[in-house]
Amino acid sequence: MSQVAQQLFNALQWGSFYALIALGYSMVYSILMLFNFAHGDVFMVATYIGYFVATLLLGLALSGSLPLSGVAVFVLTLLLTMFLASFIGIAVERVAYRPLRDAPRASAAITGLMVGIFLETLVLYLLGASRRNFPTLIEVNTFELGPVQVTNLKVLTIVLAVVLMVLLHLFIRKTKVGMAMRAMSYDYAVIPLMGVPLDLIIAFTFALGSALAGAAGVLFGMAYPVLDPYMGVLIGWKAFVAAILGGRGSILGAVAGGFLLGFIEILVAAVLTSTMRDLVAYSIVLLILTFRPYGLFGEEHSVRLRL
């Protein structure tokens, strides 16, 4: 019983990573009908940004140059990383996707893959092949939650992921930029007739997705502190699968798909040997998609209208 509850926390933790990254795929897809295949590598770069920010702040705090408590260092690292990561997304859109806005979607997708490889190679070139260790921002300790033993880090990850998702939801529901994003997902072509600059909304969407990937990067780095330039590939693809599983372009779907994927993976690993995990887990995903090809919350047809 406690074993099951224990695994539940692992599933929620991985679900949080997947969901935060999957949101970036889904938001961009919903407005542009484009899978941003560079997003996994944006997550990777964001994690490195988090590493540098954390190392810097921690150094300043330990040397006494800045009177920061441990919690303050963590909060600042999270916010600064999210802020800086948003510019990676904006840059990718500006450089790679904007010139291809009227090109076939396949061209944009291929470009995205190449941008991903470019980012991996760039990080490799700038930082060398040696792996970096994400600094310890929070002393990890285990505590008892009823019959279950959990770490404070896992709880923090899950709570923060949920808080960010609620904030995103409010942003999309209540602000005019959020309304514009929803409107754009319905009918792209008439957005300018509302006096709304398309480029601004698109840049904002990329920024939001990348900021969430930045938050995932910091939380991931704290839990799995070994960083390398290819760390974004597998987790990026898995988050992409989560976005598809949830329903392409659906915000709620990205969250549901992320957590569902976390659960499937942990469940399979708990029952079978862990080498079998991805094989079986993704077979289950394929099976679900066989019966629900548009995912859990996907629309059967999101037709892009033309004016």
Partner: protein, 244 residues
Amino acid sequence: MAAERTPQLVVENLEVYYGAIKALHGISFHVYPGEIVTIIGANGAGKTSTLRAISRLVKVGPETRMTFEGHDLLAYPPHKVVSELGISHVPEGRRLFGNLTVWENLQLATFARKDPPEVIQRDFDMVFDLFPRLAERRNQRAGTMSGGEQQMLAVARALITARRMMLLDEPSMGLAPKLMQEMFEALKEINKEGTTILLVEQNANMALRFAQRGYVLETGNLVLEGPSQDLLANPRVKEAYLGG
């Protein structure tokens, strides 16, 4: 007509291409401030292309010149035609954001406006006054409303975005005669408040009764123009557009 007035909108030699297809063969027309002008034409004549060109949604030919209140329209991106020049556009087929509520559709239309909240509130009051049905349905999703209500919202939304000039693309399409009548009465009201109207229509009878002046568009060329009275009496217009 009063020759000393300067037109608000001047379109000269407007050409629109879709790939190899030439939709407009260099048409010229103008609209005076406060006027109601209509361009009538059959399906495929190029009416929608004309409005899309003014709103800068399609590329135009190299010889094309368009000015609005003295500003070179071609120097403005589409969103600034709305927010800086004040030209709103009710597109063909309404094109509401069906996933947003009535209120959200109107709210989004204020995106680029820099007016203080009181002014915007007054505009909301005005459109709710003009179309009381929208006030009742403010929290309903636009996509679930009837065709008539959707057309009201499309006009209301345009009115909120900008109001120096309104471009209307077949607002009568799909409306029952009574609703159509109501719609055109509301548009008259809007025009009285100072908004210039450029209407394109297949329903020539309705459009010419509503407008002061009209142009006739045939396969990308303007073939006739004049006061609506004259066009209504013109044998060629009667024959081709008014059912004999």
